[in-house]
């Protein structure tokens, strides 16, 4: 087919040829843009998820500021109730203050040696200091001492306790030997 014949064919079938050319071009465009919609939908899903997450964060944090202020205040109060590991004098002063407040007689109050936690141990905010104490007094006084220790100004847990009468006579003084932990700041 010569050029002239080709031109003649094109002129004679201009509509169909144009349509076919347009169809081919559109087909190519459709092919190359066929991924655009799924990609855009994936982006939309991601954006929607991110947007919803952010909205949920904001919604969930509605009262967070107030709660944060409250918990910071609680922790300030907690810190005030902590003993300091190295402040032996103050720690012993606490024991003797309890002695004078309860009317008991303390013998051998002792803060046991404290060892810092191992480097690979789980990091905690507070540490534990162990104490030994033996007290003598009336039953009510001893119970008062125990209550003041457990519910007192420092956080305390009693590990062992032995309570017995001093003499065989009922109603007389009793002796209490306890080991207990106080929560402390290094």
């Amino acid at each position: 087919m010569t050029n002239e014949e080709l031109m003649l064919f094109l002129k004679k079938n201009i509509i169909s040829v144009s349509c076919v050319v347009v169809s081919i071009l559109i087909g190519i465009t459709l092919y190359y843009r066929s991924d655009a919609l799924p990609d855009a939908e994936k982006i939309l899903a991601d954006k929607a998820q991110e947007g919803e997450l952010l909205a949920a964060n904001i919604e969930d944090s509605a009262q967070l500021k107030e709660q944060h202020v409250a918990i910071v205040a609680s922790n300030a109060a907690i810190d005030d109730r902590m003993i300091r590991v190295n402040q032996l004098a103050e720690n012993y002063q606490y024991m003797y203050r309890l002695e004078s407040e309860t009317g008991t007689k303390l013998t051998d109050p002792r803060q046991n040696a404290w060892t810092p936690p191992a480097k690979n141990a789980v990091k905690t905010n507070f540490t534990i200091v162990n104490f030994n104490l033996t007290a003598q007094g009336e039953y009510a006084q001893i119970l008062d001492l125990l209550r003041r220790l457990e519910d007192g100004e420092h956080y305390c847990r009693v590990n062992t306790l032995n309570l017995r009468a001093v003499s065989v006579n009922r109603g007389g003084p009793v002796t209490m030997a306890i080991t207990f932990d106080l929560l402390a700041i290094e």
């Binding site: 079938n13 509509i15 169909s16 040829v17 144009s18 349509c19 076919v20 347009v22 169809s23 559109i26 087909g27 465009t29 459709l30 843009r33 066929s34 655009a36 919609l37 855009a40 939908e41 982006i43 939309l44 954006k47 929607a48 991110e50 947007g51 997450l53 952010l54 909205a55 964060n57 904001i58 969930d60 967070l64 500021k65 709660q67 944060h68 918990i71 910071v72 609680s74 922790n75 907690i78 905690t124 905010n125 507070f126 534990i128 119970l143 125990l146 457990e150 519910d151 956080y155 847990r157 009693v158 590990n159 062992t160 306790l161 032995n162 309570l163 017995r164 009468a165 932990d181 929560l183």
Partner: protein
């Protein structure tokens, strides 16, 4: 006779044997086709092009809608990101503060309050049973007590006391076992002396 719709080709004219002389000049005969083949070809081509244009249009319209939604979400994300980041930072700080409170709560809850147990024991123990000693350990506590009165009913008093300890509404839920370890006669006083061990429930003890 109806005229044929199709224009006869020269070849057809040759192949059909004429029964009389063919005097027609084929080139000059009029075109009798009502609808040209080109019409159908053009129509099909246009239809194809139209369908493809429509497909492309629908696809692009969908894409436009999706992109519009993406833009909407992006605007919302841009608006909320700062506030959300602030909330996240505040929450992280809240968690670290909460960990301190939890640590203290765990510490306090790790052992029962012994003063409460002693007071409860004092409340529920019958007058004829007098404590000699109370010994609290990690896993439970030991009660050593003297049962007043004659030795004969002492055993039933002891078992009644054990039962009372087991079912007590305060002590019962925190105890796993209540065992009578010994029940012997004190030669000096002539009274029965019993020793009971109350074992805490494993996995933590609720504060009485």
């Amino acid at each position: 006779m109806a005229l044929p719709l199709k224009k006869k080709s020269d070849a057809a004219a040759v192949t059909v044997p004429p029964w009389h002389p063919n005097l027609r000049i084929v080139e000059t005969l009029p075109d009798t086709k009502v609808v040209r083949t080109a019409f159908f070809v053009n129509g099909a081509a246009m239809l194809l092009a139209l369908v493809l244009v429509l497909l492309l249009g629908v696809q692009e319209w969908k894409l436009h809608e999706v992109n519009k939604q993406i833009d909407d979400w992006q605007r919302q994300i841009d608006r909320d990101t700062k506030q959300s980041d602030e909330a996240k930072a505040l929450y992280a700080d809240f968690q670290s503060e909460e960990a301190k409170v939890d640590e203290v709560a765990d510490f306090v809850a790790s052992r029962p309050k012994l003063s409460n147990i002693i007071l409860r024991l004092g409340q529920i123990t019958p007058k004829k049973i007098a404590f000699d000693s109370l010994d609290f350990r990690d896993n439970g506590f030991n009660i050593r007590a003297t049962i007043k009165g004659a030795p004969d009913p002492a055993t039933s008093d002891a078992s009644a006391y054990l039962k009372q300890l087991r079912v007590d509404k305060v002590l019962g839920p925190m105890l796993h076992e209540v065992d009578l370890l010994t029940l012997v006669k004190n030669q000096m006083s002539g009274r029965m002396v019993m020793e009971i061990f109350c074992m805490y429930k494993k996995g933590g003890v609720k504060k009485p």
